[in-house]
Amino acid sequence: MPDEEELIEEGVVSPVQPEVQDPLLRQLLQDAPAAADTPEPQPAKLPEPTDVVDCVVIGTGAGGAPLLARLALAGLRVVALEAGPRHEPRRDFATDEQAQAFLFWNDERLSAGKHPLSFGNNNSGTGVGGSTLHYTAYTPRVQPDDLRLRTEFGRGQDWPLSYDDLAPYYDELEWLLGVSGPSPYPWGPERQRGYPLPPLPLNGAAQLMQRACEKLGIRTSPAANAALSARYYQEGIGWREACTNRGFCQAGCSNGAKASMDVTFIPLAEAHGAEVRADCFVTEIERDAQGRVTGVVYQQHGQEQRQRCRTLFLCAGAVETPRLLLLNELALSSGHVGRNLMAHPGLQLWGTFDELVRPNKGIPGGLISEDTHRPRDADFAGGYLLQSIGVMPVTFASQVARGRGLWGPQLREYMSQYNHVAGINILGDCLPHADNYLELSDEKDARGLPKPRIYFTNQENELRMNAHAERVMRRIWDAAGARDVWAFPRSAHVIGTCRMGLSGDDAVVDADGRCFDVPNLYICDNSVFPSALSVNPALTIMALSLRTADRFLEKQRRRDL
């Protein structure tokens, strides 16, 4: 072991770059004398492309890709900058969790607070398609009251738009993505038409939950999932193949059945002239004397590049979007950038069954219930939905280690029942709280940029909701015949660090996604949500994305720039 003094000397260093971290190497580098006749290296001069495009979009996930396609279809010159690479899923995506770790945003984030959030494979993504590359493809719509939490409960926030503003976009998306789901859908307002495809088949976990809920009088339904239950064709996209029940949605779909952005809106955008540049990490947002955005500076393959634009769409997600604004000291006048950070309560309940479940097969979230949307006996604001869950083995094992703390023979013994394990989880609303926020830390990453530090502590409302949900789920799993039941406390998606609102006093963007501070800067991703919602966010992010594009195009027509 290194002795203690050496440890103290080493201090806090970044784990990302070994050549910086290793004390010996660091010393060698510092001691190396500069060659006498070599001039000091000058920073490479930025190329000054006079080329000004109409729009630059940062990020190609659920927030960036739909609006990219919309703007391209309107005839604008648009360029998307994606931090990660472009993948060839058929060739490159393994049915192996560790081999697929490249899908996640693996730059380190610091998790603070009483209930530190996990990132990486939990809720982040990189690559053309962003986090949709590994989303589970749950696509429930919000219910109208999700958008009026303050009106209903006197807590949380109302959205500056209504369900009716989103409904046409939900409809459009469900048909473009090819959502498989029940028609009619049992909860929420009546719809103008059903889902384009019938639901995906129920796997073991879904059947167990269905059986138990029937006994208990809880309504269930096959869930709406953006994965194809049959071959599907869309103009501008082409044919996509049906789901093979591979169960690896969260590690990347290898046959295009799952409606990630790389097989839907990205090809649609490119077919209409959009340019998608992969491996482009944006560091600077440049402005003129009036404070309007003039372009962005980014790193691509170790080279610094600049792209000028008339309008910028920032769609980098609820961590990287506020991080970029904070790094650039941009759009900060409201004081709300990085604040109002919320995380969906995502408590999971696991049990062991006599039946063979083989939880790796089938769409993981096969069955849903929204009967807990506004429970009659609730002692909290908002509500949650229930989903059955299948699980990949390594994800499950790591949760057993972290959540149950099992090790030694007990861990191997418990894991040997993997084929008999099934779960249920919730996805619930979360209220903003002053203690939950994102800031820039003093610790630098490999790019020399401050790592984000994220504070999260479940408050009274989340704790009560989780307790309620655990009681309900235990009843269900008891009725299903589960033994050895245990709960895995978990927070899912990060939401709300650049929220939208009616006024620049307490919000970063308006209802159209336009920054109050900067007229030609738009934000569209989960950071703009004023409240967390009691449903999975992807479909609503996409709906906002299309709406943001339409509102922008309307302003263009009216010359309100």
């Binding site: 770790a101 796997n203 040997s416």
Partner: protein, 197 residues
């Protein structure tokens, strides 16, 4: 043994496994003996002894899944998994401090090097670390419970990513071509192994 041995290995040679999946799994099966690059020899032996308690696999002998190798390789390359508990120092430092803490706790509890303790004593040391009650002033610098959680999670992920561990739990999800058609309760696809009763 709930499942017969060799199930994953047999499937790897079939068209049920895609090329890229096969490559990932075969590389783990064929991994050559590993020499540590990050840890010094003493720390590496200590890490090995700790992993042997977290996931004991004495029955495998020389075929044991090499967990310390995976940890050393990651720390040497400087890779992260996207987040870190803010209460912990950077991974390399956390591992150095945490392993030092394990040694301190062994000395405090049994006045012996961790490597010389009986398996039951080693387990007592690790249980104290997991519970956050372990003696040793290094634990003032690294949160014992979070360090243990991170170490256990990393060892567990490495273990169950290995084809031999997947055979042990009857998992053959890697053999997903052309599709799974029998996905309901008590439905077994022909290529899925049956439990040994």
């Amino acid at each position: 043994m709930k499942y017969p041995p060799g199930t994953v290995r047999a499937l790897l040679d079939t068209p049920h496994v895609s090329d890229v999946t096969r490559a990932a799994l075969q590389a783990r099966l064929d991994a050559p003996a590993y020499e540590p690059q990050f840890f010094d020899a003493d720390s590496y032996r200590l890490l090995g002894a700790v992993c042997q308690r977290l996931l004991p696999q004495t029955e495998r002998g020389a075929e044991a899944i090499d967990l310390p190798a995976g940890i050393d390789r990651r720390l040497f390359s400087g890779q992260a998994d996207g987040w870190r508990y803010d209460v912990l120092p950077p991974d390399r430092e956390a591992y150095r401090l945490g392993l030092g803490g394990v040694q301190q706790t062994a000395q405090a509890q049994f006045q012996q090097d961790f490597l010389l303790l009986s398996a039951a004593q080693q387990d007592q040391v690790l249980a104290a670390v997991q519970a956050g009650t372990a003696p040793g002033d290094l634990w003032l610098k690294v949160d014992a419970r979070r360090f243990f959680e991170e170490l256990l999670a990393e060892a567990t992920i490495l273990y169950y990513s290995h084809p031999l561990a997947q055979e042990e739990i009857g998992y053959v999800g890697m053999a997903d071509l052309p599709a799974w058609t029998r996905i309901g309760l008590d439905e077994r696809e022909e290529r899925e192994p049956q439990e040994v009763k």
